[in-house]
């Protein structure tokens, strides 16, 4: 009996690839290995793998992992052309950075996600930076950390800190100046209201200023190089409340009146403190740093207290 060796037909590799690409187009969300196998049952696993690898290296397929296993997805052609010159690892890293959006991603996180060694990562990052595809932004939370994001994205507020940070430095003088300006504005308004000597309701209402008014005043003053939004002004006014110099009420305002947010308006008014500095702090003992060590007959005692001596000589 003659053995008939049936030589399996070796399908053309290019055909396989085209077929796979067609399948991907049919299922834009991605296809699993199973789907390809069902479509071309006569193909061996090895050939299938080879075809898929070729497509991946050409940059026409995206490899994704899902719960069910591996997914292959057609990649947009435009992107495919961009990365022609780079190799797989760079593409992988670029993908991870792209996924991070505008919050950026730290180099250690890139390492975890791609499982590449540190030296490789650094080389790749430098490469990508020189190609102007990504950029490094210093985070304001931890000044040594650098996060990477795509070149043309605006970094998020949480990274740069918003209007109060310039180059990672908290601008405390800027905040102080704004603080004082707002307070002066509110104070002069309250003074004017008090001088007018009308009946108390009107007096009180006119001493209020809405956050919109304060915002307009600060913008017109022009002391800030950065554009300030109304929320920024409200944070400044909140610090004034915590200083005890200003109080706030919220009133219901008609939708459409200028400055109202969701039908409410915040009004601010300058106030004077509730009590004078209290008695305890007028004596040296109230402010003494070594208060707990002081007792009669010891090294530090009321009889030889130098703070008291100085205070008595005033």
């Amino acid at each position: 009996m003659a053995e008939v060796k049936v030589k399996p037909e070796v399908p053309d590799p290019a055909d396989i690839e085209n077929r796979i690409i067609e399948l991907c187009h049919q299922f834009p969300h991605g296809i699993t290995d199973q789907v390809i196998q069902n479509d071309m049952p006569h193909m061996e696993a090895q050939q299938r793998a080879m075809a898929i690898n070729r497509l991946l290296s050409m940059g026409q397929l995206d490899l994704l992992r899902s719960n069910a296993g591996l997914l292959y997805r057609i990649k947009e052609s435009q992107n495919a052309s961009k990365m022609k010159g780079s190799d797989n690892q760079e593409k992988l890293v670029y993908q991870i950075i792209e996924d991070a959006g505008n919050k950026g991603i730290w180099s250690r996180d890139i390492r975890y996600k791609s499982n590449l060694p540190l030296t490789e990562i650094n080389k790749i990052l430098k490469n990508l930076e020189s190609k102007k595809l990504i950029k490094a932004v210093k985070s304001v939370a931890a000044s040594k950390k650098k996060v990477y994001m795509l070149y043309n994205l605006q970094p998020d507020r949480s990274v740069t800190g918003g209007a109060w940070y310039s180059d990672q430095d908290f601008e405390s003088e800027f905040v102080e100046v704004l603080n004082q300006q707002c307070f002066k504005f509110l104070q002069s308004k309250a003074e004017a209201a008090r001088e007018s000597k009308q009946n108390p309701m009107i007096q009180r209402n006119s001493s209020f200023a809405s956050s919109h008014e304060v915002w307009k005043y600060i913008c017109e003053l022009g002391i800030s190089k950065v554009e300030l939004s109304m929320e920024d002004i409200e944070t400044i006014l909140n610090t004034l409340i915590y200083d005890g110099k200003v109080e706030m009420t919220i009133i219901a305002a008609k939708e459409g009146t200028v400055g109202s947010v969701d039908g409410q308006m915040k009004l601010y008014r300058a106030v004077s403190p509730l009590i004078q500095p209290t008695g305890l702090v007028r004596t040296p003992c109230g402010l003494c740093p070594v208060f707990d060590d002081c007792h009669e007959g010891g090294e530090i005692s009321p009889s030889n207290c130098i703070y008291m001596t100085e205070w008595l000589e005033f």
Binding site: P273, T278, G279, T283, C285, S301, P302, S303
Partner: protein
């Protein structure tokens, strides 16, 4: 009783009553309720001395006694009452502002003597006032009595509890210690006395006065022969009422600072109207209608009813929340207003805490403190964001306040093993515990100030004695009519630098005295606040 309180009490007792009383008082405060025998044994003083000292303390309401079941009497010292001695100057000053010199002297006499009968008070005060008046004028008893009656009507002085009139059978022996009772209604009832007379001066060189003396002496002798008509009815100063008054003052001045003068006058009127109707620990005053307030406003403020209504609405809407509107009546024409006393005390105490933090640590720390008060619990990062303070400085300030126990940390673990890297740490401020801590610090400060004052006086004792001798010599020489030259010689016995030193000493002692009173004001606010939180049901 903390160490600081005991120390302060012993200093006060020593300054006002002497060594022996101080020893017994401190012993009783430290060890609580004790019978007579124990006191004698433990303090090592003689029975006689102990008895006399206890008499003094009981007379001044600093020690109370109680008949125990087994038949012996135990004595207990009232530590809080001893601390009130610090506040006597403030009571006297208040009486002066309200009732002029007469009131001031009445309260002073009552405080110095603990308990007195009305006739004795009137006589003494009239004498003192007459001395300070010009020659030829005397103080009438009737004026003093009327002021006394007014003091009693506004509850500033009250009757002491009396021995009850029990009809006991002669076989039953009287109890070793009487139980004193006082009827609520009688507490402010002034007995009908017919006090006629005028105050007399002490100077014996006045001829006219001598005649008057002789004329009155008969009457006086007659009076002394029989016991005065109000014997057994003793009066004492009603401390709680004074405290109510201080508290009202604090509220009114806070309103004046926050709003304007007129609003504070309105609040003062409201508080005055509810003075006698509200007990000292009530959380709210009685509701008052705006009509009543309008009628009781002082004459100087002629504002229209609508304006008053507007002010009341403003007060009720203010974020301070001192005044609350409890309803409309009469078809919306009248509003019923009451004052929230507990909240007012809490605001005053919080403001005191904030001012202490501000003075000690700086205005930025005060900002963080107020921020934590408002938001209750915050993380480190949130504190920096809200307060707009750079991270490094904010951390530094928070740790400083944490070390002084003004803020505390609340841990919220994410994992059961409480690993620090996986735990939330929230900063928070606890007002009550901070108030207690500061109160303790106040007590120690006052003790320090008293000690420093005594030290200063002791240092310059020699100088003081010398100046006293010189003054005595001067006075006697002036009395015998010496020449100016001799007087000058004597005066020169005190050299100029010594005089300077005396000046300094006087100024220092006055300064320390004044600051003791100021710290006492802080003590008052903090104590009232802590008491108001304790009494909540």
């Amino acid at each position: 009783m903390t160490q600081a309180e005991i120390k302060l009490c012993s200093l006060l007792l020593q300054e006002h009553f002497g060594e022996i009383v101080e020893k017994i008082g401190t012993y009783l405060i430290r060890t609580g309720t004790q019978p007579l025998r124990m006191i004698v044994n433990d303090t090592g003083l003689s029975l006689d001395q102990v008895k006399k000292a206890l008499c003094v303390l009981i007379q001044h309401n600093l020690v109370t006694y109680q008949l125990q079941k087994r038949g012996f009497v135990e004595y207990e010292a009232q530590c809080k009452r001893v601390l009130r001695i610090l506040r006597y100057p403030r009571y006297i000053y208040t009486a002066k502002t309200l009732y002029n010199d007469t009131g001031e002297l009445i309260v002073e006499e009552l405080l110095l003597n603990g308990k007195m009968t009305m006739s004795a008070v009137v006589r003494k005060v009239a004498d003192r006032l007459t001395e300070t008046m010009e020659d030829g004028k005397t103080m009438d008893y009737a004026d003093v009595s009327s002021t006394f009656v007014r003091l009693a009507d506004t509850h500033f002085v009250q009757r002491c509890p009396l021995v009850p009139e029990a009809a006991e059978t002669p076989e039953v022996p009287p109890p070793p210690a009487p139980t004193l009772v006082i009827n609520e209604k009688d507490m402010y009832a002034v007995p009908k006395l017919n006090l006629v007379g005028k105050g007399k001066r002490r100077r014996s060189c006045d001829e006219d006065e001598n005649h008057e003396h002789k004329a009155k002496k008969h009457k006086k002798d007659g009076e002394d022969a029989e016991p005065p008509p109000d014997d057994g009815i003793y009066w004492q100063v009603n401390i709680d009422r004074f405290h109510q008054h201080f508290r009202d003052q604090g509220i009114v001045s806070a309103v004046a600072n926050r709003m304007d003068q007129t609003s504070s006058e309105i609040v003062r009127t409201m508080l005055r109207m509810s003075e006698v109707t509200t007990s000292s620990s009530a959380p709210y005053t009685q509701p008052l209608s705006s009509n009543e307030i309008f009628r009781s406003l002082p004459a100087g403020y002629n504002i229209v009813k609508q304006v008053l209504d507007q002010y009341l609405t403003l007060l009720a809407d203010d974020p301070l929340e001192f005044v609350g509107k409890s309803g409309d009546s009469g078809g919306g024409m009248y509003t019923v207003i009451c004052t929230d006393l507990h909240k007012a005390l809490a605001s005053l105490a919080t403001a005191t805490l904030e001012s202490i933090v501000e003075e000690r640590f700086g205005s930025r720390c005060a900002r963080i403190f107020r921020l934590l008060l408002r938001k209750k619990h915050l993380e480190q990062k949130q504190v920096e964001d809200f307060a707009m303070i750079p991270a490094k400085e904010a951390k530094d300030m928070l740790y400083k306040m944490l070390s002084e126990n003004f803020v505390s940390l609340q841990e919220i673990p994410k994992t059961p093993d409480h690993a620090p890297s996986r735990t939330f740490y929230l900063y928070t401020v606890n007002i009550l515990s901070s108030a207690r801590m500061l109160l303790h610090r106040c007590y120690k400060s006052v003790a320090n100030l008293i000690e420093r004052r005594q030290y200063e006086t002791k240092e310059n004792k020699r100088l003081l004695e010398k100046s006293q001798r010189v003054e005595a010599i001067l006075a006697s020489m002036q009395a015998t009519g010496a020449e100016d030259v001799q007087l000058q010689e004597i005066e020169e016995m005190i050299t100029a630098p010594e005089r300077q030193q005396l000046e300094n000493l006087k100024r220092n002692v006055n300064k320390i005295d004044a600051s003791e009173n100021q710290v006492d004001e802080t003590i008052f606010v903090l104590e009232s606040f802590i008491e108001s939180t304790l009494k909540k049901p």
